[in-house]
Amino acid sequence: MAARVRRAMRDGMNRQRFSRALRAAPFLGPQSLFLALFVVIPIGLVTTYAFMTRGRFGGVSPEFSLENFTRLLEPVYLNVLFNSIGVAALTTALALVLGYPTAYLIARLPTRWRTVALLMVLLPFWTNFLIRTYAWILLFNNAGWLNQGLEALGWIDGPMNLLYSQPAVVVGLLYMYLPLMILPLYSSIERIDPELEEAATNLGSRPFRVFRTVILPMSVPGMLIGCVFVFVPSMGNFVIPELLGGGKMLLVGNLVRDAFLKARDWPFGASLALVLTIFLVVLLALQSRASKRITEGSPDA
C-alpha cells in the first residue's frame, strides 16, 4: 500500500517534472544548443588538437601526441611564458596602484559625480582598442608628443626611445585594462557602509588603520577579480606587443596567433591557448576561494 502510494507520488512528480521541462524547453533549449555548438565543441576541438600533430600543409593530422606540451617546456617558449607572466604581473600591479585609490575616491563621491566619474572610466574602454593603442604610437614616437613636450620643458636633451620597448608594452596593456581593475574595485568598495569608516575614525583610529582594518579586507574580493581581469588578457594580447613592442617581444598571445595564422601549426597554438585558459581557470578558482574565506571571516558578512 505504502509502496503504491510512493510510486504514484513518484509518477506524479515525474510527470510534473516532465511537463515542467517541456515548458522550460523553448526558453532554455535554443541558447543551450547554440552554446553547445559554438562554445563547448570549439573548446573541445582546441583541447583535442592540442594532443595531435601538425599536417604537412598546416591543418591537423589525427595522431595522438604530447609533443606540443613537451615543446612548451623548451627554453624559448618557457622564456615567452615567463616574460608574459612578468609583463602581466607588472601591468596588474600598476593597475592596482592607480586603480585602487581611484575606485575608492569614486565610491565616496556624491552620487551625481560618482556617475560622471564612472562613465569617464568606462568611456575610453568603449573606444576602439586598436585606436587606443595607436594613440600611444603618437605619444611615444621619437618625434612624438611626449618627447616634444619633455624637450620643450627642458627635461631632456634629445628624444628618448620610448616606443618599441617593454615599458611601452606595459603602458599599452595598462591603458587597455585599467578600467577592468577599477570597476570591480569600485563595486566592492561602494558596498562598504561609509558609516563603518566614520565609526572607526570616531573611535580614534587613524586613517591608515581604518583603511587596513575596515576597507582593505572588505575590498579584497573586488581587488582579486580586478587582478584576474587585468592579468589574464594581458598575457593573451598579441596586438599591443606587436604595435608597441616593435616585434622585439612576444607574449603568449603572439605565439598562439603566429602558430595559427603564420606557421599554420594549429596543434601547438591550441596547446598554448589551453595553457592560457588553465591559467584563467586556476586564478578564478583561487580568487573565489580567497574571497569566500574573507567574506565568511569578516564580522558583518
Binding site: 598546416g58 591543418g59 593530422s61 624559448v76 616574460n83 614616437n141 618625434a143 616593435g246 622585439k248 595564422l261
Partner: protein
C-alpha cells in the same frame, strides 16, 4: 599619390591573416599526369577562377580579359601564400583554376603534383620574358609556373641622415654606434635570416643546422641594436627619421622614395636574394585551356606594365618594361635594377621540412 600602395605582398606578414577552411588531413590531387590540352577547345564555354593577392592586379583585369577573350573570370583574393596553399590543399578540387603564389611555394606544390604542367603553345607571350626569367631556381624552364613580378632585398636608408654610403649587410647587422636604435629588420622567416646568411657567406637556402646556429648568434648580437622588427612600416619610419637604415624589399623601399627622395636603396655587396611571385595553373582545373590563355594575357606588354607603373615592382617582361616611362626608373632607382643584376642574386627555393627550423629561429630571436 603616384601609385596605388600595394599593401599585401609575398610572404610578408599580412593585414588580415584569416585562413581558409582546412580539413583534417589534406589530400593531394592524384598524380594522373593531366590530360593533354585541346588546342581547339571552345574557350568561350570555359570560365576562370583566379586566386591572386589583393591589390596586386589592375582593378579592371576581369573585364579586360573577358573583352579580349570572351572568357568570364572571377577573382578571389588571398592575403598570404599560406592562405592560398591551404585553400588548394584543403580539397581535391578547390574550384580555383589559376593561383598566384611565390616561387618557393610553386616549387613545393609542383613537387606534390598539384600543378599542371604549362602548355607553352597557349603562351606565345612567354617570348616577352627576359632570358634570365626562364631559368629561375625554383622552377627552371618555367615548367609549372610563370613569373609575375620579381625583386630583391637590400638596404633602404636615409642618405641625408647617414654620413656614409652603406653597401654591406654588416652596416645593418653590426651598426656603428650612432646608428644604434635607428635600424629595422624584416621579421618574416627567410628574410630575417637573409642578411646574416649573406654576411657569413652562406646560402640563403641553407639547410645546415650549423650555419643556422651561426646566423642565430649574429642575430642575437644584432637585436639589441634594432629599433624594431618591421615588415610593413619601415619606410614610414624612414620618412619620420625614426629609422635611418632598414632591411627592405626593393618595391617597398619605393614607397619611402616616393615621399622623400633622400631615401635610397642598395643591394649589399655580399649579395642578396631573388624572390619571384608566380602564376600557376592547378591540375584540378577543368578550364586549363582558358587558364593557359589567361597566363598568356598577363604577359601582354600593356597588361604586365601595370605592375611596374602602379605597385613599383620589377616585372621580368622585357616588352612590358619597354612601355614604361623611363623617368620612373630615375625616380625609383630600384626599377633600374637590370635582370642581369637581379639574376646574380640567389633565387629563393623551398627548403622542405627544414623550414620549421627557420620558423623556430625567428620565434626565438623575437622572443629572446
Amino acid at each position: 599619390m603616384l601609385f596605388r600602395r600595394s599593401k599585401l605582398r609575398v610572404a610578408a606578414a599580412t593585414a588580415i591573416a584569416a585562413v581558409a577552411a582546412l580539413g583534417l588531413g589534406a589530400c593531394s590531387a592524384g598524380d594522373s599526369g593531366g590530360a593533354a590540352l585541346d588546342p581547339d577547345a571552345d574557350l568561350t564555354k570555359q570560365s576562370l577562377v583566379v586566386g591572386i593577392w589583393s591589390d596586386y592586379y589592375p582593378e579592371d583585369l576581369a573585364e579586360r580579359f573577358e573583352a579580349k577573350t570572351g572568357i568570364p573570370m572571377t577573382i578571389v583574393n588571398h592575403a598570404t601564400n599560406e592562405e592560398i596553399v591551404a585553400k588548394i590543399m584543403a580539397s581535391g578540387d578547390s574550384g580555383i583554376d589559376v593561383a598566384f603564389m611565390s616561387g618557393q611555394y610553386a616549387q613545393a606544390l609542383g613537387e606534390q603534383g598539384v600543378l599542371q604542367e604549362l602548355d607553352k603553345s597557349f603562351i606565345p607571350n612567354e617570348a616577352n620574358l627576359y632570358p634570365e626569367a626562364k631559368e629561375l631556381a625554383y622552377d627552371p624552364g618555367n615548367k609549372v609556373s610563370l613569373p609575375y613580378a620579381w625583386g630583391t632585398t637590400g638596404l633602404c636608408y636615409r642618405s641625408d641622415l647617414i654620413d656614409f654610403t652603406p653597401d654591406s649587410w654588416n652596416d645593418l647587422l653590426n651598426p656603428k654606434p650612432e646608428l644604434e636604435g635607428k635600424t629595422t629588420m624584416l621579421a618574416t622567416e627567410r628574410w630575417m635570416t637573409l642578411p646574416a646568411q649573406k654576411l657569413l657567406g652562406f646560402s640563403a637556402n641553407s639547410t645546415s643546422a650549423d650555419e643556422l646556429a651561426q646566423v642565430r648568434a649574429q642575430l642575437e648580437k644584432t637585436k639589441p641594436t634594432l629599433l624594431a622588427f618591421d615588415d610593413t612600416t619601415f619606410y614610414q619610419k624612414l620618412i619620420t627619421g625614426e629609422a635611418v637604415l632598414t632591411e627592405a624589399w626593393d618595391g617597398w623601399c619605393n614607397y619611402g622614395v616616393a615621399e622623400d627622395p633622400n631615401i635610397k636603396f642598395v643591394i649589399p655587396k655580399e649579395g642578396s636574394d631573388l624572390w619571384t611571385d608566380t602564376m600557376t595553373v592547378l591540375k584540378s582545373s577543368k578550364n586549363k585551356e582558358a587558364a593557359m590563355t589567361f597566363l598568356n594575357f598577363i604577359l601582354e606588354p600593356d597588361v604586365h606594365s601595370w605592375v611596374v607603373e602602379n605597385i613599383l615592382y620589377n616585372v621580368p617582361n622585357r616588352a612590358a618594361n619597354e612601355l614604361v616611362d623611363p623617368q620612373m626608373a630615375v625616380d625609383f632607382p630600384s626599377l633600374a635594377i637590370t635582370p642581369a643584376e637581379l639574376s646574380e642574386q640567389e633565387g629563393l627555393i623551398d627548403v622542405g621540412d627544414f623550414s620549421t627550423e627557420y620558423s623556430r629561429l625567428v620565434t626565438e630571436i623575437q622572443a629572446g
